[in-house]
């Protein structure tokens, strides 16, 4: 397979974009990407596109991308893989280039969560991930989906609700300098612990906000990298992992096996391990999920995640900063865009251009876990060609 590099990245700010539709957000992200390719991009160079969108607003997703971005003459493929959609779109596009089929491809991720009434959203989204007869009627809201894991994790591991709060505090702090982030303010552990309960054990600040947004990447083959930049970021590894779709069939709920599988595949492809990762964007839709993911990604030993948040290892300035962008928690989480936006952040980190720069970062990891906690995607990027 050929080497693949990211040579351009762009994203809209994440937030409640009531004034912008999906037909605005998608071209905005693509144009921002195109405007920031070091040596310029002629759109006619783009040979194919992969579009990660979890839900649809305003209709037919691939057509909307082609139509709104002036790309009517190339194939566009929609990727939908729950909250792993963004990094799975990156994975598919990577293979499209690595295979030799295309030299220059576009990856876009987008979603507009705040497009339906708050009352309708819950059941619409629940229908995407639940067994219609058995689980859907139980009212297994998205936070409950993950809380079932985290409640058991808190029971078995030394981690406490204070550790969950510390994750929220860290990611809120990280978001402050990020102009793309939705929640750019700091909170305290006390605020997090005393906030209204959403789904016990999660309180308000343990949860991602609902967000709209889009992100775009330009992936090219090694052969043509020089046309676009002298500072490419290499896609070193991609991986996807799955699990049983019903919680009652998951034997050990203190871990996410899809993450373990996706990380294993991505590390193997990259020829790298957890120790090689300088900075990571980890799926923190709920604070406890970030902690469990430290272990699943190999950053911490089993039931040792709390130590990393306690001693600052995963804060900016620590030895393994996690979510310098603010993460889903504070940057926001339009699911289809999330993974692509993680790669946007890491692209900037690995080029030394990030708003919240991690000094000397050379290798980075992006991670999503989603659906009925049954799918994960991991992408490993590096400034080293490998």
């Amino acid at each position: 397979m050929r080497r693949v590099a990211v040579v351009g990245a762009g994203m809209t700010a994440f937030g409640e974009h009531f004034g912008l539709g999906i037909k605005d957000l998608v071209p905005m992200a693509v144009s921002e990407m195109a405007a920031h390719v070091d040596k310029g991009l002629d759109r006619a160079d783009i040979q194919a596109a992969w579009f990660g969108e979890l839900t649809t607003t305003d209709g037919f997703p691939t057509g909307i991308l082609a139509d709104t971005c002036g790309l009517l003459d190339i194939p566009v493929t929609r990727v939908e893989n729950a909250c792993a959609t963004g990094n799975d779109a990156v994975r598919n596009a990577t293979f499209g280039v690595a295979s030799g089929a295309f030299d220059v491809v576009l990856v876009v991720g987008a979603d507009k969560v705040r497009e339906s009434s708050a009352r309708a959203t819950f059941w619409e989204w629940a229908g995407l991930t639940r067994d219609m007869a058995w689980d859907y009627p139980l009212g297994l809201v998205a936070p409950a989906n993950f809380a079932l894991h985290v409640a058991r994790y808190l029971h078995e591991s030394p981690a406490t609700r204070e550790h969950l709060a510390m994750v929220a505090v860290k990611n809120h702090r990280h978001a402050v300098p990020n102009p793309k982030a939705q929640l750019r303010y700091e909170i305290t552990v006390e605020q997090a612990l005393n906030a209204p309960v959403v789904v016990e054990p999660f309180r308000l600040f343990d949860c991602t906000p609902q967000s709209d947004g889009a992100a775009a990447l330009l992936l090219v083959a090694e052969d043509v990298v020089d046309r676009y930049t002298d500072r490419p970021v290499w896609v070193r590894g991609v991986g996807l992992g799955l699990d049983r779709v019903m919680h009652q069939h998951k034997r050990d709920m203190t871990t996410f096996p899809p993450t373990v599988k996706a990380a294993k595949a991505a590390y193997a492809m990259a020829g790298l391990g957890p120790a090689d990762i300088d900075v990571a964007e980890v799926h923190d839709c709920f604070t406890g999920v970030e902690l469990i993911s430290y272990e699943d990604l190999g950053f911490a030993e089993r039931f040792g995640a709390h130590k990393l948040i306690e001693d600052g290892t995963t804060a900016i300035g620590g030895s393994k900063p996690v979510n310098p962008s603010g993460g889903l928690k504070a940057k926001g989480h339009p699911p289809g865009a999330t993974g692509v936006a993680q790669c946007f952040e890491l692209f900037e980190q690995l080029r030394g251009e990030a708003a919240n720069q991690v000094d000397g970062a050379r290798t980075a990891l992006a991670h999503n876990i989603g659906g009925p906690t049954a799918v994960s995607a991991v992408t490993i990027l590096s400034s080293d060609r490998g």
């Binding site: 009627p137 809201v141 936070p143 409950a144 079932l148 959403v198 019903m246 069939h249 709920m253």
Partner: protein
């Protein structure tokens, strides 16, 4: 004369000593199912905590055909005489297969009496049979009625009739349910069955409380003296009872006491179920006697020829009702094909047992979780108790669903290696903890686009019961009220 083989009662765990209210996940059907299961347990036809089916299952009776919910083969340990009795020739039931299955279960007919039928169009019978654990070929009568109708149904019932009476009234009236199984009129039948015989009946009209079809609420004419004097008063006069009743159902405690001999027990309900609560009360009174059931201007009296021996009360101690937040929203969608495919396993609490290796899967699934066989599966009863593996409590408002509520993943007992994701019922939200134990009970999990969606919920054992190592079901002798 109808012989009582078993009586069961159920009171919702919410309310106070003054009266119970149905939980947000209860309706007349779930109340009735709880009482019916208690009655069958009392009659020795079901185990209280057991495998969930109504009785032990001889292998020959299962039929064993995969994916064939038609023949569940729930078979009771009923004496053979009950099936071959000349009074109940197969001809009455049409097909011979019906007789075999239904008669073998000891219950041939269910009469469900309530004024709050969950579905007026769409039917409640299948859910009722599935929840009770009866075969799908048992006849069901869905009857709108009150306390006199229940005594009428009972006194005139053929052996093998299960009379189920449920009250899930609008706010302000107490909720509860009771059920009575009429056993074989046979000296070789279950011992201790007391007889119930009609003494008299008066059917009159004085609709001081009324609700026409299509009206949302009950209208109240608001004249208590009229109701007392020209309603029950005239009805009693016309009945001309030779002796005073010992218990009176359908009446306020004070009024009942005024017309009964001795001091009659307080009954927990006023509607259909109160008639059977009245008969059950004879167990505690230790005597038989005349039982009266009144409703507005009508009344029925029966004589019970002794204290019923087989009474089981599922009457947990009352908890103060939770303050729930109700959030309006769009109808919760339902897929009726998915509903229909899941129905038997979901309402009968059964797993799919892999025909190749025997592994149980809940819900049933084509490909075995363990061996990967896709050759087929057969429904098999699941244990109705287990331990909480993980639990969470939803506080955020959810449209169409009263909040807060708790969800739990429960590891079922008996080493079956099956976990279930269920709602928690009968306990204050947020109190079910990892490691807690409880039993699985039928509840209305949701109302989806107007259709009640029944399934099982975890009823945590009360701390006292846990200590004693018993199920949460209070087999109290009326004291829990």
């Amino acid at each position: 004369m109808a012989k009582l083989a078993g009586l069961g009662t159920y009171l919702p765990p919410w309310g106070s000593a003054r009266g119970r209210v149905a939980g947000p996940d209860e309706d007349a059907l779930t109340l009735g199912v709880a009482a019916a299961r208690a009655a069958l347990t009392a009659a020795g036809l079901a185990s209280s905590d057991g495998s969930g089916d109504v009785a032990n299952l001889p292998p020959s009776a299962t039929g064993g055909s995969a994916h064939s919910p038609g023949r569940f083969g729930r078979v009771a340990n009923l004496p053979p005489s009950a099936t071959g009795g000349s009074a109940h020739s197969p001809g009455r039931f049409g097909r011979v297969a019906d007789v075999e299955t239904a008669a073998a279960a000891g219950v041939r007919r269910v009469v469900f009496v309530t004024r709050e039928l969950p579905l007026l169009v769409g039917g409640n019978a299948a859910a009722l049979l599935a929840g009770i654990g009866l075969a799908a070929d048992v006849a069901v009568v869905e009857q709108v009625g009150g306390a006199p109708a229940v005594l009428d149904a009972l006194a005139g019932a053929a052996p093998g009739t299960l009379v189920v009476a449920a009250d899930a009234p609008q706010a302000g009236q107490p909720a509860g349910a009771a059920a009575a199984l009429v056993g074989p009129d046979d000296p070789a039948g279950p011992a201790g069955g007391v007889g119930v015989e009609l003494v008299g009946r008066v059917v009159r009209s004085l609709p001081v409380h009324s609700q026409a079809v299509g009206e949302a609420a009950i209208r109240d004419y608001s004249d208590a003296r009229l109701e007392r004097e020209r309603g029950v008063g005239v009805a009693l006069e016309r009945l001309g009872l030779a002796e005073k009743p010992v218990v009176a159902a359908g009446l306020a405690a004070k009024q009942a006491a005024a017309l009964c001999a001795g001091s009659p027990p307080d009954l927990p309900t006023l509607g259909a179920s109160s008639a059977l609560f009245a008969i059950a009360a004879l167990h505690e009174l230790g005597s038989g006697g005349v039982v009266l059931a009144a409703e507005q201007a009508s009344a029925t009296a029966v004589r019970v020829d002794g204290p019923p021996a087989a009474v089981r009360r599922d009457e947990p101690a009352p908890l103060a009702p939770e303050k729930m937040t109700r959030t309006p929203g769009p109808d919760i969608a339902i897929s009726l094909p998915a509903y229909e495919r899941a129905f038997d396993a979901k309402l009968r609490w059964e797993a799919g047992r892999c025909d190749a290796c025997g592994t149980l899967a809940l819900p049933p699934r084509r490909r075995c979780l363990a061996c990967g066989s896709e050759a087929g599966w057969t429904l098999a009863p699941l244990p109705r108790s287990g331990e909480v593996y993980t639990a969470v409590t939803v506080h955020v408002p959810v449209p169409g669903m009263p909040t807060p509520y708790s969800l739990a993943i429960v590891e079922l007992d008996g080493g079956v290696d099956v976990r279930a994701l269920v709602k928690v019922t009968g306990a204050k939200p947020g109190t079910a903890r990892i490691g807690d134990r409880g039993r699985l009970v039928l509840r209305r999990v949701a109302v989806r686009s107007g259709v009640p969606d029944y399934g099982y919920a975890l009823f945590p054992n009360s701390p006292a019961a846990s200590v004693a190592g018993e199920a949460a079901t209070g087999t109290t002798e009326g004291a829990a009220r």
